[in-house]
Amino acid sequence: MTGAPTTSDRPAGTGAPGARAPAGPAGTGHLARVLVYVAGRLATAAFSLAAVVAAAFFLFRILPGDPVRAMTEGREVSARQREELRRQFGLDRSLAEQFLDYASGLLRLDLGMSFQYREPVAELILDRLGPTLLLAGTGTVVAAALGLFLGARSGWRPGGTGDRVHTAVALFFWSVPTFWLGLLLIVVLASGRGFVPALLPAGGMVDPDTTGPWETALSVARHMVLPVATMVAVVYAQYLMIMRSSLMDEKGADYLTTARAKGLRDALVRRRHAVPNALLPTVTLVFLNLGQVVSGVILVETVFSWPGLGQLFYSGLRVPDLGLVQGLFVVFAASVILMNLLADLVYPLLDPRVRP
């Protein structure tokens, strides 16, 4: 939910890395520049991760004052039970000790204990990772494909009927709260009330009585239709707007005039010449928008009871189970940072113009 789909975004990862380090002799100088670039990106990512770790500690251990009181709010807990909990979570030691304990635990991939499930948070997360990757991956691919396709059409003829319709529809879906759209889809297509029979399952991932891999896969696919549709509807607007403005930037380029002068048909000029060039800056932005995908996944999984990380996050919030929420906070933030690092490293391979 970072800002409306404005047209003025610039790919942040493409900030002219070529300007760094004076150009030396062709061979070794180039290698050195590449190494400096890669090292710089790695250092930035490492620094961001460290900041996430510190922020998580600050948010969940220092800000609430007494985490145990926050966790047991509204419940009858005796003073002895509270002391017990405090010792169990290591809250009776000094803050510095706690931080060292927590940070060294993270290095061993130990995210602490869940208050609610009485299990290590890392294990809970591993159990739920698969469904989330399946849902988020499918949703992102479909949304990106749809958004880029429609964006290319819109940007090619800005102001035309197609452009107006696509932009209006995308803006409408962008303005709709994700969870509400999901709830509506359930009411219309899955509740079985009104005129429409219950076509699709309202929640969960697999029907409990399915047997065999083929049937299971089919059941999962049926359960995925509504969650994926909800995610796509809310996320694709971003991709559409990015692709649209990116293609509009390319429209005046000389190589398009050349292509036309060669006698290529309009559709061919767009598909073979304009779109591949416009796609490049879009790639970074697709990665930068992954934070949005994480938000979308949390809401969609909550609405459709999809057994993934988002639903785990929601169940942690309801208790509130601060250990679990903290672990998921670190995992969500770290995954977005790592994907951005990946985009930064892969991008120069795709686009020779920004190669160091």
């Binding site: 409306a4 969940f60 803006l171 709709v176 009411v187 998921l328 933030a333």
Partner: protein, 309 residues
């Protein structure tokens, strides 16, 4: 006013005239954007309803004990949008909910726009005109901004709302502290552009300090961009508010659109197909968010013509 009289007028009057002219031109340009006008009209109407709500909604009817109807009555003459699981009128809930939703939207936007503008102007100003210390400050500020920009906004806002005490103020803080980075980036870029212009150099040559240049020369020229961004951010904030309320982070004592939707879901209205309980609040959020977005895009197009096609 005739030309010689205008020439004789004081500089203040001249500046006033110029401002009025600019305002008229702005209004004329804005009126050319049909979608922007529709958005503006919708916003005026909705704000009016929110302000006038106490006159036609009785707060006593919004309590669980004072509910006027039976649970889950479908829409009728007495209850145009039916009733909820306690028998309260859904129309009343939606009208009353607009007050909290709009308030939170505006306040959270105020927090985030102030923060974003402060960070953006400071980073832009000291990045281009500061000494060594200023440059370091500016680059640290931008690193922090980029870090916040990458983090999943919802996760951060939810985490903040989960650890702070429940209440409307917490929601405002949680949203305000998480949605400012795009504003900061935008304002910084605009500040850099303004700082490069001759009148800023002139102000500096005449002895204007950092604070003077930032407050009197940079800030007024950055405001148009901020205005468009503000309008877009209100939409984001209202959706964020409803999302936080839906995740159970809201103040249970107040009625907001997201809170009504959460209540509908926990009461089982979804699987029971009670559409009149769920459609109106969500539609209200969508209409308000869309109106703000339309206004923001029209403003962007008027103030920054290069960006609009």
């Amino acid at each position: 006013m005739s030309a010689p009289a205008a020439a004789a007028a004081s500089p203040r009057a001249l500046a006033g005239q110029r401002r009025r002219r600019a305002l008229r031109r702005f209004a004329r340009d804005y009126a050319r954007h049909g979608a922007g006008l529709v958005g503006l009209a919708a916003l005026v109407a909705i704000t009016g309803i929110a302000l006038a709500a106490p006159w036609f909604v009785d707060p006593a009817h919004l309590t669980i004990t004072g509910a006027p109807g039976e649970p889950y009555e479908p829409p009728s003459r007495a209850f145009p949008l039916g009733t909820d699981n306690f028998g309260r009128s859904v129309l009343d809930l939606v009208v009353w909910g607009s007050r909290v939703s709009l308030t939170v939207g505006f306040l959270a936007t105020a927090v985030s726009v102030s923060l974003g503008t402060l960070v953006g102007v400071t980073a832009g100003h000291f990045g281009s005109a500061g000494g060594v210390f200023g440059r370091i400050t500016a680059s640290v500020l931008m690193r922090v901004t980029d870090w916040f920009l990458v983090l999943p906004t919802l996760v951060l806002a939810v985490a903040l709302a989960a650890v702070l005490p429940r209440g409307t103020a917490t929601i405002v803080v949680a949203i305000g502290l998480t949605v400012w980075p795009p504003t900061a980036r935008l304002v910084r870029a605009q500040t850099l552009a303004v700082e490069a212009r001759p009148f800023v150099e002139r102000a500096r040559a005449l002895g204007g300090g950092h604070a003077h240049v930032m407050a009197w020369h940079v800030l007024p020229n950055v405001m148009p961009v901020v205005l468009a961004q503000t309008t877009l951010l209100v939409a984001t904030s209202i959706i964020a508010e409803s999302t936080l309320a839906f995740l159970g982070m809201g103040d249970p004592a107040t009625i907001s659109w997201g809170g009504v939707l959460e209540a509908a879901r926990t009461a089982g209205a979804v699987s029971a197909g009670i559409w009149w309980y769920m459609v109106p609040p969500g539609l209200a959020i969508a209409v308000v968010a869309l109106s703000f977005t339309l206004c923001g895009r029209a403003l962007e197009a008027v103030l920054n013509p290069r960006e609009a096609r």
